[in-house]
Symmetry: none
DNA sequence: TCGTAAGCGAGACGGTACGTCCCGTCTTGAA
DNA sequence: TTCAAGACGGGACGTACCGTCTCGCTTACGA
């Protein structure tokens, strides 16, 4: 089952999440703006975290396609650029940052957020499979760490340091990581 | 210039921050638990973010020493271990995670948090200076990126993926990054 | 013509009325406890007052027999005792008090309650007819006032003053009223 | 201590009590109409019953003077008329009926209501003292019962039967009771 | 005997009020 | 002058019932 206006609710939730951040997001606000009664929200989601979690899962605003440029370096650079763009451009950046930040300290939300990003990050796997097929990658390479290094550096730069993640930065980290792996 | 019980206030703030997370931390709670009137808190700090920011700056719970093992790899491994420990062990982990998470979406807090960690991370500079003196490092290496790669990967692993950052992982990323740089 | 589980519904209604009082009695509570859907209750009774009114009318818990002791004084004393017992003993007392109290301010309910008690009080008429036949009573005596005096005094004593209506009190008022009439 | 707008609050409470009856009286309504925040009401009174109880005690709308006509019959008739008027005229009637009805089932309120009316009824005592001084009354007469008989009959007539308590009725019951006593 | 209509359950919904927590502002009085 | 004490208007919380509605399922009765 699902509430009748689920789509409006999710849209409103993410919009307001992007606009005001997680902790200034209120259930009453979502209710009012999505033309639904507060009680209806509580009927379906036990908490703000659960609502946001569900909205995220249904969200299509945070999708990103996986590149296929023909080389591992090209693919990773493109992937990193897209991660950077995801974290930087509006509204995905606001949503992603708010959700990621809130997920620390809201285990319920964390699970969903984690699942959400894991789902998206899982799609980078073909990149490595193609790279392995091309002989660019040792078969025992630790793939998750590669993505963690790249994505972590971008996160730190963008969210924590508040600096832009321009293409020079992106190229730089990708090449650094690649050199680190390929040997 | 400062409230008389500033130390209790800061202690309480960080304790409660660690216990309940940023957004369940309340001014009233801090007031009550530190034996101070709510008014006093508002007199000195305009917002919860400002209070937390100040408390963090004064905090000694989040210090970490900078290693000097004689080799760049040893130093970085040790540094990474300490970062991992800082994010993992109690109460520093709870405080750091809560503060970092909250800083996204609270620019006021972000500045302080950023300054705080920048201050601590600035201390890793001697590591690189010693490495350069030993000839282990090209003089034009982008130092911040190195730290961002390492720290970012740890953050992602610990906070986002919810996985432990054990010594194998730490060694692995340090070596990967080192190989990436040294070429 | 009538809901299938009418009897359960009425029983539950009166039980809960006695237990919790009129305004903490809820339709939802009655529905749940009588194993009926809320909708069913609304299908048959437009309001809580109407439900209670109907339940009262069907109630057999509040019956009382009319005495025939052979003298007016005996009959009235016995009648007064029974009224006192009706208002005092459980569950009739709780039901009666709750219903009477609620009927002030719920005209819809008031009508039924009034009818209900009028019906019961109408049975005291033979008392007076027998008394008149025995010559104990002038034929133009205002009978309703006699009952009002007696019943009113008991109500005041029991419900308002919260005092018991013991047999001494009952005898006292009956004799006072009788002396007032008989001259 | 007392809330700053206590008088408005009490006035509003009684006005709304008279208008809508006890159980449609809402705290939020009182708050809004008396220009006070809901929280303020909860700060001072733990429940609706307590608020109404307090408002009643402070009320001056329900006062009545005690007559002194020179004879017991005159005094009692006048007293009964005033009781009837108190229960009949607006707004005192609505307030009194609502409060008395609600007090059954709200022990907290009952205490206050009882105290309130006891206080007012206590003033009839001089009537009897004067009557005793004039020799109209045996010294051991049970005074409370006299008042209970009269007031109870009026209550029953007015509230329960929904009939008016006109001067004929009032005279009738007073004379009946008087005859009952004086013998 | 079987169709059909009344009765019902399930449950979503908009809505009102509840009583609570905390916010941030303000005033007052004592040290 | 600084601070405690604490009243206040306010916003949102999460909950309980309200009364209405739609949707299918039973049940039972009368054609």
């Amino acid at each position: 089952m699902a509430p009748r206006k689920q789509q409006q609710i999710f849209d409103t939730t993410l919009t307001m999440l992007a606009e005001t951040g997680y902790d200034r997001l209120t259930i009453e606000g979502v209710a009012e703006r999505s033309g639904v009664n507060k009680t209806t929200l509580y009927r379906w989601w036990p908490s703000k975290a659960a609502l946001v979690a569900n909205a995220l899962i249904e969200a299509r605003a945070l999708e990103f396609a996986v590149p296929d440029t023909g080389s591992l370096e090209g693919d990773l650079t493109e992937l990193a650029s897209r991660i950077a763009a995801l974290l930087t451009t509006s509204p995905s950046g606001d949503i992603a940052v708010a959700a990621l930040a809130a997920s620390a300290g809201h285990p319920e939300l964390a699970t969903s957020v984690r699942g959400f990003f894991a789902d998206r990050l899982a799609r980078e796997r073909p990149i490595f499979e193609r790279a392995a097929a091309r002989g660019e990658l040792a078969p025992d390479t630790d793939l998750m760490t590669i993505v963690d290094l790249i994505a972590g550096a971008i996160w730190l730069r963008v969210v924590f340091r508040g600096l832009p993640a321009d293409s020079a930065f992106v190229s730089h980290i990708v090449q650094t990581v690649l050199r680190g792996i390929c040997r």
